[in-house]
């Protein structure tokens, strides 16, 4: 049987590997190379310019704004989403109080779980367009019409609160996913642990903070990394929702939008690739830091 192994292995690997090398590995390698040239795409000639593009990047105000926005999203998106998701997952799993010593979910928890998860299957762009109506600045915006009921004046959502509005959509779409994830984690916590806590007279709030959350720490860390990666993206929402694709005046711009604009629209391949390298470095540093933090805590746990 050993005879036939290598032809088989090669036969099975050649097509996926070729495709992967062609469209993923080669462009990634090229991105690093092109980032050190002044290739504009229009001419076949280009020069090696070393780190000039990276110098330009450091001097580019839009890049610093984008970086600032990523840091903002990197903090707010995971914190708000995880807090809401933990809260809802707890209510769904244990909000019904104790019945015969075991914790039960609130009435209708199945329905809620289905509804909460729903935004996850919708395309981000479509969600963005829908929220365009929610955030419409005049009296026609759903949110403004709702505020009007309480006598609050119309808010210029995308002009004055652009990044917060985009954060709102990200949270809206993400929470359900983590509710399902955390709920699954919670239901795998042995019932005896809860029974013991109830016997000791702990109420639900104590149980939530003292039992559930510590036991879910691993899942929460996974959630943190996923949401962090989401915070590095936001491309589709900024493109369809914000004023002037990242405006007004860069107030909502993110690195992927800058990459798309300078690379695909303006054919400034060298500079766009430098931005891509910066985003990748940023993402990888974040992932390594969170995974390393996760590991150390796991040992203590």
């Amino acid at each position: 049987m050993r005879q036939g192994k290598y032809p088989f292995v090669i036969g099975f690997l050649i097509a996926p590997l070729a495709l992967y090398a062609m469209f993923v590995l080669r462009p990634i390698a090229a991105a690093v190379q092109v980032s050190m040239t002044n290739w504009s795409g229009l001419s076949p000639n280009f020069d090696f310019v070393g780190l000039e593009n990276f110098q330009k990047l450091i001097d580019d105000d839009k890049v610093w704004l984008a970086a600032k926005h990523h840091v903002f999203l990197l903090v707010t998106l995971p914190v708000i989403t995880i807090a809401l998701a933990l809260f809802f997952a707890f209510l769904l799993n244990m909000g019904g109080g104790t019945r015969g010593g075991t914790m039960t979910g609130v009435w209708g928890s199945k329905f809620y779980r289905v509804v909460f998860f729903l935004p996850q299957v919708l395309a981000v762009v479509i969600v963005g367009v829908i929220f365009g109506r929610v955030y419409a600045p005049d009296g026609s915006g759903i949110l403004n019409r709702f505020l009007e009921l309480f006598g609050v004046d119309a808010v210029q959502w995308m002009a004055d609160w652009g990044l917060w509005s985009i954060l709102g959509v990200l949270v809206w779409q993400a929470v359900g996913f983590y509710v399902v994830l955390f709920a699954a984690g919670m239901s795998s916590i042995p019932a005896e642990i809860y029974e013991a806590a109830v016997m000791d007279g702990a109420n639900r709030i104590t149980i939530f903070f003292r039992v559930t959350i510590p036991l879910l720490m691993e899942t929460v860390k996974v959630a943190w990394v996923y949401l962090g990666i989401l915070a590095m993206d936001a491309f589709a929402l900024v493109m369809v929702l914000s004023i002037d694709e990242g405006g007004p005046d860069g107030a909502t711009t993110v690195l992927p939008v800058q990459i798309y604009k300078s690379g695909i629209r303006e054919s400034d391949y060298g500079y766009a690739s430098a931005l891509g390298v910066a985003l990748a470095v940023f993402t990888i540093i974040f992932a390594v830091l969170s995974l390393r933090g996760g590991k150390r805590d796991a040992v203590e746990h």
């Binding site: 088989f8 993923v24 762009v125 005049d138 639900r204 990748a280």
Partner: protein, 288 residues
């Protein structure tokens, strides 16, 4: 006794508060979707000046027709179906083949190739966006569905290989050995024995890929440029994004909402039917 009943009362209040919190979030999720659906039947005046919480005065289905034909949503929808069908199929076949040999065969370079695939998970698609555009252009595939399908497959491989390799590793050896003794070839073993055994994993990751590829935006918007001819090739996501910016000028808002409804309603129906599988398919990556 007093403490016990007080305790119970606080439970009651808590219960009500939990219901309120859950119901509010459910409304926040559902309401924008219902608004979208209802607005497809309204006219511009009703959408902008009318009560956003009201039903349409007339149930006018005309907007759906206009969206489907005049705004090309029908074409975009079919394009999306075709691209996602072939790209998911290709991803699953190629991903399963690669994952299988990497998980179950010892050969020189196995670890290196596996690492190359998994490393792809760490890089955002935006890093290589510009060079990818050039590669696709050089191959003459810019503005074609074939090009987009190949790119979708390539970018779906890292996660698919990572997930399925872990899955193939857990399959028992005994069945494979028995089949080999019976004289099955490596290829037959894979297709007739291992693939059926891996069905749960394959279903999860298929769902994951279908939804991920259906919702893709940056790749089609970069690789299927517009123009008179190019626009016919557009996918649903980029088509709707483009209609949404045009809707303001053409002032046909009902058609935009009809287009949005056409895009979301099939997803909602499919999700309602397969919600269990979809939830576990999408969360599979995070649980690993």
């Amino acid at each position: 006794m007093v403490t016990k009943s007080e305790n119970r009362r606080s439970f009651g209040v808590l219960n009500k508060l939990s219901h309120v919190a859950l119901a509010v979030w459910a409304i926040l999720i559902i309401y924008p979707l219902i608004f979208t659906f209802l607005a497809a039947f309204k006219n511009n005046t009703e959408i902008f000046i009318g009560n956003p919480f009201a039903l349409p005065s007339e149930w006018d289905f005309g907007s759906f027709g206009r969206a489907w034909t005049e705004a090309n949503v029908g074409q975009y929808f079919i394009n999306s179906l075709v691209v996602v069908f072939f790209s998911t199929l290709g991803t699953m076949v190629l991903g399963a083949m690669a994952a299988y040999v990497l998980a179950r065969y010892d050969f020189i370079g196995n670890r290196v190739i596996y690492f190359l695939f998994v490393a792809g998970l760490a890089f955002p698609v935006y890093l290589a966006l510009t060079p990818l555009y050039i590669v696709v252009q050089e191959l003459g595939l810019l503005g074609t569905h074939t090009g987009l399908i190949l790119v979708y497959i390539a970018y779906s491989l890292p996660f698919t290989v990572f997930f399925l390799a872990a899955f193939f590793k857990t399959l028992p050896n005994a069945v494979a050995e028995a089949a080999m003794i019976d004289g099955a070839s490596h290829t037959r073993l894979f297709f007739t024995v291992m693939m059926p055994m891996a069905k749960p994993g394959l279903i999860s990751i298929t769902i994951f890929n279908i939804i991920g590829q259906w919702n893709q935006y940056v790749l089609p918007v970069s690789l299927l440029p517009g123009g008179a001819e190019g626009q016919e090739k557009w996918l649903l996501t980029q088509g709707i994004a483009s209609i949404s910016t045009a809707a303001g000028y053409q002032a046909d808002w009902p058609a935009l909402f009809a287009a949005l409804s056409i895009a979301i309603i099939p997803m909602i129906i499919v999700y309602t039917i397969f919600q269990r599988q979809i939830q576990s398919g999408l969360t599979a990556g995070a649980v690993k």
